[in-house]
């Protein structure tokens, strides 16, 4: 078919472009790009200085070589930040000569002539590779990777491993009882999470919240709230709820519940965002109300994946509930922690095996059920 010749730009398009590209918005985008560049360049400079110090052979106050923490403490942050800002500015001002900077490319797209070049021919390509390489080498030093110890000093852990291999029957009875509690704990947390996550997930789906100012605000609020909730570890939630309702399985239920709501909202809303828009259009076209559109156009499409995610979440909750017990949130972890502290490796072995078997069974069962549903 013939390509349809199109006017370079029509009147309406021109008007729209002007509405979208106000000098203010342009300026904001420029600043965004500049900021991203400054941060990336700062990272590179910091890591370069870190590596320089690490290999300089300089000694600390104790006469020993500097530890990674000491190096991190000594980096010249303010000067490097200034330098990074300056370099970012230069890169953004002279991008035509140097090549599009990474920040500018992210925010506004690369220059036309760079679009199809392989990374080896763009400055931001080389910059990215440098950044990744530096991160790896710095990470090696910061986390004090010790290949030799890992390969030669296994004997030191022999006691523990031997204990784990020879589980003692003493805690089997108590362990089994608490295991049942653990599974119920995970189940209740999941059950409480479902209705709330279900309702909230519609507000956290981008494709359903574009309509007006209020829905966009709701989206932002819900997303932020859920991200914050998810960012706090269930272990921390457990500590909060233990003070709230006291030590015991209910605190564990609440801790996993909060975390599950946040996690399920994320999974559910992503699922809603990936639905086929066709039925939504069709139901909207009948004159149905927004709630009816959700009921007919969205819900039938997301029920099977929702079920699948929920079972998966229960599975995760079983795993997490063993840890929750460590701080007093009920379940099998509650008797595991003191035995770890005492070094009763035989009993620890029994409990670890019980947990492993349960998690393994949950894994199989949840996989099977999910297979049937989807």
């Amino acid at each position: 078919m013939a390509a349809v010749p199109r006017d370079p730009i029509s009147d309406v398009q021109q008007r729209i472009l002007e509405r979208q590209n106000t000098p203010w918005k342009k300026g904001v985008r420029r600043l965004q790009g500049l900021f991203v560049d400054a941060v990336l360049i700062l990272l590179v400079l910091l890591m370069l200085e870190f590596l320089a110090l690490a290999f300089s052979g300089r000694r600390g106050p104790t006469g020993l070589l500097l530890t990674p923490e000491e190096i991190l403490d000594r980096l010249t942050y303010p000067w490097l930040a200034l330098a990074a800002g300056f370099l970012a500015l230069v890169w953004n001002l002279f991008y035509r000569a140097i090549g599009t900077s990474p920040g500018r490319a992210l925010v506004r797209g690369a220059m036309k002539e760079e679009e199809n070049l392989p990374w080896t021919q763009t400055s931001r390509g080389w910059f990215s590779v440098l950044l990744i390489q530096l991160t790896f080498f710095t990470g090696w030093l910061v986390t004090e990777v010790q290949v030799v110890a890992f390969l030669t000093k296994f004997s030191k852990a022999q006691d523990i491993v031997r204990g784990l291999m020879n589980p003692s029957a003493d805690v089997l009875h108590q362990g089994l009882i608490l295991l049942v509690q653990t599974i119920f704990l995970a189940f209740m947390a999941t059950a409480f999470a479902i209705p709330i996550a279900f309702a909230v997930s519609f507000l956290a789906a981008r494709n359903l919240t574009r309509a007006n100012f209020w829905s966009r605000t709701a989206y932002l609020v819900v997303r932020t709230l859920m991200n914050l909730t998810r960012a706090v570890e269930p272990l921390v939630w457990a500590l909060i709820f233990i003070s709230w309702v006291g030590i015991g399985p209910f605190a564990g239920v609440l801790a996993l519940w909060v975390h599950s709501v946040a996690a399920l909202v994320k999974l559910y809303s992503e699922q809603i965002e990936s639905i086929d828009n066709g039925p939504v259009e069709a139901i909207t076209a009948t004159g149905a109300s927004t709630l009816q559109v959700l009921r007919y156009g969205v819900v039938p499409q997301v029920i099977p994946p929702f079920l699948s995610f929920t079972i998966y979440r229960w599975d995760i909750n079983v795993r997490m509930s063993t840890i929750i017990g460590f701080v007093g949130g009920g379940g099998i972890g509650y008797i595991l922690k003191p035995r770890v502290d005492l070094g009763a490796w035989g009993e620890v072995g029994t409990l670890v095996i019980l947990i492993a078997v349960t998690v393994w069974m949950m894994d199989i069962v949840s996989a099977k059920i999910r297979e049937r549903i989807v």
Binding site: A2, S10, V12, Q13, P279, A282, A288, Q301
Partner: protein, 264 residues
């Protein structure tokens, strides 16, 4: 032009200066003026990307127009909001290329969903409809030749059958206007006429005005009472099926396009 003269005919849809620019800057419609009269079977022609689908979706506001005005039976669709918008939408049925049935629902529920615009009752959230509506739905299913399939899941049906369910849904909506967006493009060529005849039925027997986009020139000549051609978002031609000759075809589709054998 066949039928009564334009003076006597009532306007079903009046489109004035309609433009649509998508968020990515694509210009889909560029100042389209168009009037559709009651009882017409209007076919919208044009290459893919010429703005046909956008035009139809602007009529019932599945897509928000950027500029311009749309009047449906004299009432301003572009200004409608909330309840008014929903009431006006319920007067405009739509048939889609991909059928857009709710796949996990039964055929009957899919047909009944056509009545959602007028049944705001709580029952609709539990997929419950009145006995009268159910009877109507079964009747419409029979009319499109799907009696006995009402309890099948929608996705268990073949493409042609699914599109007929969608037509029953449109019947259920009791609309005055039908928008059909490439209704047969994803169907087996052998099944196209059967589906097109049902849409023709909506037009002839139910007196619904039809706005339909089509690719197949053969079908265009067979069913259209009037044609409109779009090119790069602009209306470039308008006329009856008889006036649509080879020359016009090349004008609309470009010099490199080849008219179907039947046209020559």
């Amino acid at each position: 032009m066949s039928g009564p003269s334009e003076m006597q005919r009532r306007e079903a849809v009046r489109i004035e200066g309609l433009s649509k620019v998508y968020d990515d800057g694509t210009l889909a419609l560029d100042g389209v003026d168009l009037t559709v009269y009651e009882g017409e079977f209007l076919v919208v022609l044009g290459l893919s990307g010429s703005g046909k689908s956008t035009l139809l979706r602007c009529v019932n506001r599945l897509i928000e127009p950027t500029e311009g005005r749309i009047l449906i039976h004299g009432e301003d669709m572009t200004a409608a909001t909330g309840r008014t918008l929903r009431r006006m939408r319920s007067d405009v049925a739509m048939i889609f290329q991909q059928f857009n049935l709710v796949r996990r629902h039964t055929v009957l529920t899919n047909v009944l969903s056509g009545s959602l615009g007028r049944s705001g009752r709580l029952g609709s959230y539990f997929l419950r409809f009145s006995e009268i509506e159910r009877k109507k739905a079964l009747e419409f299913l029979e009319r499109v030749g799907l009696e006995g399939r009402d309890q099948s899941r929608a996705d268990a049906l073949s493409g042609g059958q699914q599109q007929r369910v969608a037509i029953a849904r449109a019947l259920m909506q009791e609309a005055k206007l039908v928008l059909a967006d490439e209704p047969v493009a994803s169907l087996d060529p052998a099944l196209r006429h059967s589906v097109m005849r049902h849409i023709e039925g909506l037009n002839r027997d139910e007196g619904m005005t039809v706005m339909c986009t089509l690719h197949d020139i053969d079908l265009v000549r067979r069913y259209a009472t009037r044609l409109v051609a779009l090119r790069a978002g602009r209306k470039v031609w308008e006329g009856t099926a008889d006036e649509f000759d080879d020359e016009t075809f090349l004008e609309i589709y470009g010099q490199e396009a080849e008219p179907a054998a039947e046209v020559a």
